[in-house]
C-alpha cells in the first residue's frame, strides 16, 4: 500500500489553477522530497492531504484512506508540521503538547520529545515568546507525538539556523529508520538532496519530474562543460576533439576551448585527446551543472526544460511553457 497516492489531483480557485492533474505515488518507508518554487502548488497539495482544502478534481489517498472522506482516519496516523501556521501565543509549550496528547488520545512522554527537539527548558513558557526556530521545533515535537506512520512536513527548515536544520534532518532520518514514511516539501534543492530517497519537482501545479536523487544527478551530468585553457590549438585540433566519441560540442574562443560532454563522458579522456592532438593543456575548469541548476531549469519559465537523454521521467515538457498555465496563485 502506498503512503500517499495522488490521482489526477486538481484544485481551482476560481480561474486560478493551483494544482493541475497531479499523479504521484509515495511508497511506504521512503523519505520523499516535494520540490518546487514558491506558489508551485506544494502547500495546496499538502492542504488537500490534510483536508484543509477540498480538491475540484481527482483524488488523494493517504495510508490507504481517502484524504477527504476518511480524513479522521488519516489524521489519527500522521504527524504534521504545517506551513504558515501560528502557535497559541497564550499557551505554554507543554500545554501545546498536552493538547496533542489529548487530541490523539495516546500515551506519550512529552518531556522526552521536547528534549529531543531542544525546547524542554522553555516548556513552561508561553509559546508567544518563542523565537521562530523554537516555534518550528515545538510544532515538530507536536508532529512526533504518538509515533505517526507518516510525517508530513511543509517547509520544515523555515526559521531554523543551519544547526537547527541539521538537527531537523537528523530527526527526520531517525524517524525514517523507525519505519516512518516522511513526505516533505521544500523550495530549496540542497535540503532535499541531503536527505531524500526520491524527489518530485512540481511547477505551476504540474509534476515536472519524479526520480531518485541519483536519477536526477545522472540527468544533470549530460550538461557537463569542460573549459580548457590551451595553446597551440588550430581548427584541425578543434575538429579532432569535436569528433571524439565523448564530446557533443567543442568551440574555441581565444585560448579557451569549451567542450561539452555527453553522458558518462570521460573528462580525462578528452584532456588526453587534446594533448595527443598536439596542443598543450595549461589549465582547465569544470562546470558541472548541479541539481540546483536542474531545478532552476525545470521551474523557470522561458528556459526549455530538456534534460536530454536522461533516465528521469520528464512528465510533461509543456509544464515549463509560460503559456501553459498563466498563474498558480500564492502558496496556499
Amino acid at each position: 500500500m502506498a503512503a500517499i497516492e495522488l490521482d489526477g489531483l486538481t484544485k481551482h480557485y476560481g480561474d486560478v489553477v493551483a494544482v493541475d492533474g497531479l499523479d504521484l505515488t509515495v511508497e511506504e518507508g521512503e523519505i520523499f522530497g516535494f520540490l518546487g518554487p514558491n506558489g508551485a502548488g506544494k502547500s495546496t497539495t499538502i492542504d488537500i492531504l490534510l483536508d484543509f482544502v477540498r480538491p475540484t478534481g481527482g483524488s488523494a489517498a493517504v495510508l490507504g484512506h481517502d484524504a477527504q472522506r476518511e480524513s479522521m482516519a488519516v489524521r489519527r496516523r500522521i504527524g504534521v508540521l504545517p506551513d504558515a501556521y501560528h502557535v497559541y501565543d497564550r499557551l505554554t509549550g507543554r500545554q501545546h503538547m498536552e493538547f496533542v496528547v489529548d487530541s490523539k488520545d495516546v500515551e506519550a512522554d512529552v518531556e522526552a520529545i521536547l528534549e529531543r527537539v531542544r525546547v524542554l527548558e522553555a516548556a513552561d513558557r508561553k509559546a508567544g515568546g518563542y523565537s521562530k526556530g523554537m516555534r518550528q521545533r515545538l510544532v515538530l515535537a507536536m508532529a512526533l507525538v504518538g509515533d505517526p506512520d507518516l510525517l508530513i512536513l511543509d517547509e520544515p527548515s523555515t526559521g531554523l539556523d543551519p544547526n537547527g536544520a541539521r538537527q531537523m534532518r537528523d530527526i527526520i532520518r531517525a524517524e525514517n529508520d523507525r519505519g516512518t514514511t516522511v513526505f516533505f516539501s521544500s523550495h530549496i534543492m540542497e535540503q532535499v538532496e541531503a536527505i531524500c530517497d526520491r524527489v518530485a519537482i512540481i511547477n505551476r501545479g504540474r509534476l515536472v519530474a519524479v526520480d531518485s536523487i541519483e536519477g536526477l544527478r545522472d540527468a544533470t551530468e549530460t550538461t557537463t562543460t569542460l573549459t580548457v585553457t590551451v595553446s597551440g590549438v588550430d581548427d584541425d585540433v578543434v575538429a579532432t576533439i569535436r569528433a571524439h566519441e565523448d564530446v557533443t560540442s567543442a568551440s574555441l574562443a581565444g585560448d579557451q576551448l569549451a567542450v561539452t560532454l555527453g553522458p558518462d563522458g570521460s573528462k580525462f579522456g578528452v584532456l588526453q585527446a587534446i594533448d595527443a592532438a598536439g596542443a598543450t593543456v595549461e589549465d582547465f575548469s569544470l562546470d558541472e551543472s548541479s541539481l540546483e541548476d536542474l531545478f532552476v531549469e525545470y521551474t523557470t519559465p522561458g528556459q526549455a526544460a530538456e534534460p536530454g537523454e536522461s533516465q528521469t521521467q520528464a512528465v510533461d515538457p509543456t509544464a515549463a511553457d509560460p503559456t501553459a498555465t498563466d498563474s498558480t496563485g500564492g502558496d496556499r
Binding site: S71, R76, V80, Y85, H86, L91, Q95, F99
Partner: protein, 281 residues
C-alpha cells in the same frame, strides 16, 4: 468525543484574554453599584415601595444582558475566524478532530470562559444585594442563574457561529457588531417600520398584537421574557419585568422567550457549522 480536547485547550487560551477581565471588572463595579442603589433607594430607582430579591433580579437583568452580549462578542468573535486568519487552526485540524468537533469544542470552551466571568460578577453583585436586603431567596436566584446561563450559551453560539462563517477577523467583527447593532440597539424600530408599511404608510393608534412576538426576537428581549416565564410572581411585582403582552394569545405567553432562545441556538449553529465544515481553510 474529541471536542473535549478542543474545549480544554480553548478554555485555557481564551480565559487569559485581558479584555474579558477588564469587562468583568466594569461589570462587577456596575452590579455592586446597582444592587446598592436598588436596596437603599427602591422607590427612587426601582419605583416600588418594598425592595425584594425578585425585584433585584429583574433590576439587574438589563445590565446582565448587556454584559453577556458584549462579553460574548469580545470573547468569541475571533473564536474560529481568528484561528483561520492566523493559521493556528492548522495545528488543530492536523489532529484528528472533525470540523464539528472543533466547532462544538469552541462553543463549550468559550461558554465556560463566559460563565466563569459571569459567575464571578453575579456572585459579587447579587451577594452584595442580598446582604443589603437582609434576605436570601435561593429559588429565584437559582432560576435566574439558570436562565442567564442559557442566555450566555445562546449568545456564545451566535457569535461563534458568525465567526465560523468567515476566515477574516475583520468580517467576523463586522458581523458580530452588526448583529448587536441590529438586534440589541435598533430592533425597536423594526416592528414599527413593518407596521408603518403594513398600515399603508401611517401608524395606527395601537400596535397590532402580532408585533409582540416580533418585538421579542432580540436574544436579550427573549432572555427577559424567559425570566418572566419562570418568575411570574416576581415579574408582576418588579419594575422592568413588565414586558407581558397585556392580551391573551398563544404567541403572547412568556414561554415564547424560550422558543426564541431555542431559535437563536439552533439556527446559528446549523448555519455556522455548515459553512465551516465546507470551507477551504
Amino acid at each position: 468525543m474529541s471536542w473535549t480536547a478542543v474545549a480544554k485547550k480553548d478554555f485555557r487560551d481564551a480565559v487569559q484574554s485581558r479584555a474579558l477581565w477588564a469587562l468583568l471588572a466594569v461589570f462587577v463595579v456596575l452590579s455592586v453599584v446597582l444592587s446598592y442603589s436598588y436596596a437603599e433607594f427602591p422607590t427612587l430607582v426601582g419605583g416600588t415601595e418594598q425592595a425584594t430579591v425578585g425585584g433585584l433580579v429583574f433590576f439587574t437583568s438589563g445590565i446582565v444582558s448587556l454584559f453577556v452580549s458584549l462579553t460574548a462578542i469580545v470573547v468569541c468573535y475571533k473564536a474560529i475566524a481568528g484561528e483561520r486568519e492566523l493559521g493556528s487552526i492548522k495545528l488543530m485540524l492536523a489532529l484528528p478532530h472533525s470540523r464539528l468537533d472543533v466547532f462544538v469544542g469552541k462553543l463549550v470552551g468559550r461558554t465556560g470562559v463566559l460563565s466563569l466571568a459571569l459567575a464571578v460578577g453575579l456572585v459579587v453583585g447579587l451577594g452584595v444585594g442580598s446582604a443589603l436586603l437582609g434576605s436570601f431567596e435561593p429559588v429565584p436566584l437559582v432560576l435566574f442563574l439558570f436562565v442567564t446561563l442559557l442566555f450566555a450559551v445562546v449568545y456564545v453560539t451566535i457569535v461563534v457561529s458568525i465567526s465560523a462563517t468567515t476566515g477574516s477577523t475583520s468580517r467576523a467583527t463586522t458581523g458580530a457588531l452588526g448583529f448587536f447593532l441590529l438586534f440589541e440597539l435598533l430592533w425597536d424600530v423594526v416592528p414599527l417600520g413593518v407596521v408603518y408599511v403594513a398600515n399603508g404608510l401611517s401608524l395606527p393608534a395601537q400596535m397590532p398584537d402580532w408585533t409582540f412576538p416580533l418585538m421579542q426576537l432580540p436574544p436579550s428581549s427573549a432572555y427577559v421574557l424567559s425570566l418572566n416565564a419562570l418568575l411570574p410572581d416576581l415579574a408582576d411585582a418588579a419594575p422592568g419585568g413588565a414586558t407581558a403582552a397585556g392580551f391573551d394569545a398563544f404567541y403572547a405567553r412568556p414561554e415564547l422567550g424560550f422558543v426564541v432562545l431555542a431559535f437563536w441556538l439552533v439556527v446559528p449553529l446549523a448555519v455556522g457549522s455548515y459553512r465551516f465544515a465546507n470551507a477551504d481553510l
